[in-house]
Structure formats: C-alpha cells, structure tokens
Symmetry: C2
C-alpha cells in the first residue's frame, strides 16, 4: 500500500514536470535548475549572470525557491526582471522544489517574453536532485569552503547535474582546500559533468559560465 | 490513507528514539545530535572536541551519519575512540539520520563505557531537524561563509536546537559577512538558543564549547 502511494506521488510529479517542459519548449524558454548546499552562492551567481545576459539582448526570469522568506527575491529586485517567489512552507515546508510549485509559479510569468528561466532551488545538496522540474539543464554550485569530499558524500546531486560551478574561488588562498582534488572527486562521481571554477563575488569565471549557458541553449535538447 | 501511513512512520520513529533515550539514561550517556549544512565543519569540530574531553577523563564515541562513504569515520580513526558509520544508502539514501539507524549503531557500541556520544547527522540544514533520535541536546553548526540569512531561511533547524556554533570564525576577515547580524538572525528565529563563535580549525572558542557540553551534561535533563 505504501509503495503504491509513493509511486502515485512520483508519477504525478513527473507528469507536472513534463507539462512544464512542454511550456518551455512551446515558448522557446531555456530553463536551468540551480541547486547547492545552503549558502554556496546561488543568488549572488544570479546577480552576476542576469545583467550579463540582458546586456547581450536576452530576457531572463527567476523562480526563487525557499522554504520561507522572500530574502532572495528581494536581492534580485534591483535587476528589474520578473521574479516569482515559490515558498514550500504553505505546502508542508518541503526541502526541495516540486514540479507543481514550479507550475504554479509559471502561471505568474509572461512566458512569451523569456529566453532564460533560472529556477533557484532550496539550499539542500540531497533532496532536490531527486525531483525533475521540467528544466533543460541542471547545475550544481559547490563552494570551496564546503570541502573536497562533498561529491563523494552526496553523489546523486553530482550524478544528476550537467555542470558543476566551483564557486568562491576568491577564498582559495585562505582555505586548505585542494581544488584539483575537488575537481577530481566531481569527475569520479560523474565522468560527463562539466566543471567551471568561478567567483560570483569577483566575477572570475563568470564569462565562461555565460558562454556555457549560450552554448547549451544553442544546442538545446 | 496516506495520512495514516505517514503517522505510523512518525510514531515508529519516535518510539525508536524513546528507546534510544532510555538506553542513554540507563548507561549515563550524554548524547548530542550535531547538524548543519554540508561542509560546515562538523567532523573537524569532533576532531577538536574529543581530545579535549578525553584529556579531562571522559570517554567518547561517535555515530557518523552519511548517505554513503566512510570518509568522516576515517578522519576520526586516529582519535582511537569507538566510531560507528551509519550510512543511509542501503535504506533508500535518506537525507537525515533516523532513530532506527541510531538504534542499529548503538548495538555496535559498548554503552557501559561512554560518557559523551556524538551523533554527526547528514549535512542538511532542513530534514534532520524533523527527526528526534533520542539525543539529550541538539547543536547546529552554521559556518560564516554560508551567510547571515540562513536562520531566517531555514528556521526549523534553529528553532529545534539548543546551541548554535558559528564556525569558521578564522575566515571572518576574508568575508563580507556581518557576524552580529548573523547572531541576531539566529536569536530572531529562536530567542532561547545559545550561540558560540568558534573556529574548529584554529581552536578559537573550543574551550567555551567544551564548557557548554560539561555544563549541559551536569544539568542533564
């Protein structure tokens, strides 16, 4: 009985995700699901990414996933793009974004005028990896202070993503972290994943990340 | 029907936790559940905590919670104390430790010779807060690079804990983090929680943390 219930929930979740993807395809939207531990720098990454895309003529929108609060949406407000806050608290305080919540958020956006849709997931290196939202690409942000061993300890997230951004490179001189070992642990977990070292704070590597996004959108699948 | 199933699981979980607590009480064990985001420094904290307690004549043991791998247990091996690795991967890859897993781990320890039992939970600032394991105290480690806003965005964890260790204080000069705002956000979420700034790396504040542990064990409830 329990198994049947769980299966129903997952099927429902995947159906909603497929509907989201159909909407993205219909409107030419390239959707990127950004995941990480709490405090890895997802929001600051968006603060740097969006101006770089808009100055190239692309229009962007963001779905901000959080359990509670509108802190991240407020940080993005000055960018002047559509931002929808998706909080899980009214729905049981889920530890990840669900495809139904993304679907509800999409209803608040003018889909005909979006090139890139960024979905900032809840800060959690475990559960969000299990839930497909309809996105075109999945990106994991791993910040240097988290340590080299994270891909080995939380492998599903790294297996499920197309790109790993090694963020907070500006802190490297003050940490004992071995960046090469960190990269090798990411690749040990997923031989196919791309890795880009960046610092959302200083802008290091942000150009390469933008190039990755444009290339991925060009060869969209 | 779904509601009944969930309730059964939670009741089962609390029953196991109460059995664990009865074992702790019977053997005079003081159990501390340590939780945090991935990479906040829980294991390094234990590497500094255990020698400080053993040199004061207390015997310690650790239950190491991880989804997969034995990396953290191996880091603790040189301490020469009993360490049991509790991996959730064989049980569905749960994103938190369950009281049944702690119970299984306890069977591998000589309970009659433990003063302090540290349970290092899986790195996750969300889900572990929901599951009582039978512990005497709950501690959340929040590292400075994670940013000031985390207590506001992940309030349950901070509401459920007795102590918040602000770790990686040694990085303060290289971050734009406002430590006073971080503390005030912790207290805004939970007016009763104690806060100690520490650096497991440099040893700053570790003495105060040991004093907190000894005091908490003295006034054990």
């Amino acid at each position: 009985m329990e198994i049947r219930v769980v299966r129903d929930v997952l099927e429902e979740s995947n159906l909603r995700a497929q509907e989201n993807r159909a909407l993205f395809d219909m409107h030419g939207i390239f959707a990127v699901n950004i995941m990480s531990s709490p405090g890895s720098g997802k929001t600051m990454l968006l603060q740097k990414t969006i101006p770089a895309l808009t100055e190239r003529g692309f229009s962007c929108a963001v779905i901000e996933g959080d359990i509670t609060s509108t802190i991240d949406s407020e940080r993005l407000q000055p960018l002047g793009i559509p931002v929808v806050q998706a909080n899980t608290e009214p729905f049981g305080g889920d530890c990840h974004l669900g495809s139904h919540l993304v679907q509800a958020a999409l209803k608040q956006l003018d889909l005909s005028s979006i090139d890139f849709l960024f979905i900032e997931n809840i800060g959690n290196l475990v559960c969000p990896a299990e839930f497909y939202l309809g996105e075109n690409r999945r990106v994991v942000v791993l910040s240097l202070p988290e340590g080299e061993d994270k891909p080995l300890k939380y492998p599903l997230m790294f297996r499920e993503c197309n790109l790993c951004l090694l963020n907070k490179m500006d802190l490297a001189p003050y940490l004992e972290v071995d960046v090469e070992l960190m990269k090798s642990n990411v690749h040990k977990t997923n031989g196919q994943i791309a890795i880009l070292p960046i610092s959302a704070k200083t802008g290091e590597g942000v150009g390469e990340w933008i190039a990755w996004l444009l290339h991925a959108r060009g060869g969209q699948s």
